[in-house]
Point group: C2
Chain length 229, copies 2
Amino acid sequence: MEEKLPTIDSVFSIDCLIFGFDAGELKILLIERNEDPFKGWLALPGYFVKQNESLDDAADRILYELTGLRDLQMKQFHTFGDVNRHPQGRVITVGYYALIRINGQKDLRPVSPYARKAIWHSVNDLPKLAFDHSEIFNNGFSKIRRRLNYQPIAFDLLPEKFTLTQLQGLYEAILNKKLDKRNFRKKMLSYGFLKELVEKQKGVSYRAAKLYKFDRRKYSKIFQNEMSV
Amino acid sequence: MEEKLPTIDSVFSIDCLIFGFDAGELKILLIERNEDPFKGWLALPGYFVKQNESLDDAADRILYELTGLRDLQMKQFHTFGDVNRHPQGRVITVGYYALIRINGQKDLRPVSPYARKAIWHSVNDLPKLAFDHSEIFNNGFSKIRRRLNYQPIAFDLLPEKFTLTQLQGLYEAILNKKLDKRNFRKKMLSYGFLKELVEKQKGVSYRAAKLYKFDRRKYSKIFQNEMSV
DNA sequence: AATATAAGGTGTGAAAATTACACCATTAAA
DNA sequence: TTTAATGGTGTAATTTTCACACCTTATATT
């Protein structure tokens, strides 16, 4: 455990909290580290920011290099700066998050050698992560949970066309509690930003449900009005 | 304008957004810079983080050195990392905020020579600030405005004992809109965390108002319950 | 003493939002 | 045809929000 590691001067890094939703479960994107420190451990995708790139650009690049995912429109949620949070020296890290559709992003292929592989892991039985990444996860997850109440972030996790039951299952997974079906539907539809499609669910062995789309244009109108009050 | 300044390697800094409330106006704490770049400009109190101090510790130290204020319990709100935000090199800055009582903190005395003086300035007619500090201000102010709706941050700005009219004036100053007196009082009192005092306002030339205290213990109870749902 | 000034303090009814709650309908598979 | 699984729907009670106006009290002024 007391190996000699090179020390580094003060630098900053990015760590990414990428949420996905699959089979009724909320998942988080992790990498298996391929270099010391914490070689072999699971960690959030994260790495150092380069001298001449903005934080936002760095977040995109780093996530791509470690997982193969691109263009996610991540947002910052907190910056972690304890003196000893990194064993090699002073590293301040900025936490970024995004919520995405897992399907269609199936091929997780680290481009850089720093990650051996990238995997989706349920948020419910996370092992201890490298560095202070468990703490970073908890901090980000609780912020997203709160944000769910006033921003339509859930739709980013679902396929473009989804049923109300899927949407409800997602809310329940994030909030970790049961919701009432009738009240949930009434409320969601009352917002007016869901577009009901003619199309129905296929391939299920029970009555097929209506499909809906999130209508970003309608949402913007509603949201803008709210903002200007 | 094209003076030669020393360049610096990548470092991080803290900038502080300190709000106060006085004479019915919301104010922000600014310093007049005493060194290049932006010598003579108004700026948020901010400086570089040392190698061996946490971000939170750095925020406390820096604010003290530049303004003489201490022990404010600031909280982080955003990190700014554009490549060219600082003319001397790559500087990532973490924004911290606090809301405080102006009275009793009257003596603003910069300890470090980097600030010529520190002043309270109304948030309403801010001049252009040094660096990207205007942007940092806007970002932080809008977050605090939103936070006002679900956290009792306003009480930190008032004297320990205050009247409901003062409290309402503060909400109106932060939200920048008029509120209905009866509804405001009803709602505030319904929360149950205001303690009505026997004492009344003094030295006013009209009917003296009842004084209230914010009861942090009662608030914690209520807040904890909400959290655990 | 009377009056003016300035803010303190209070209640009600309408509308909207939230909550609790149970059963029949539809589809595909067995 | 039966079973299993989910889809889909309404109402009444409660709580919250919102709009709205007048009398009271303390001091300063004449």
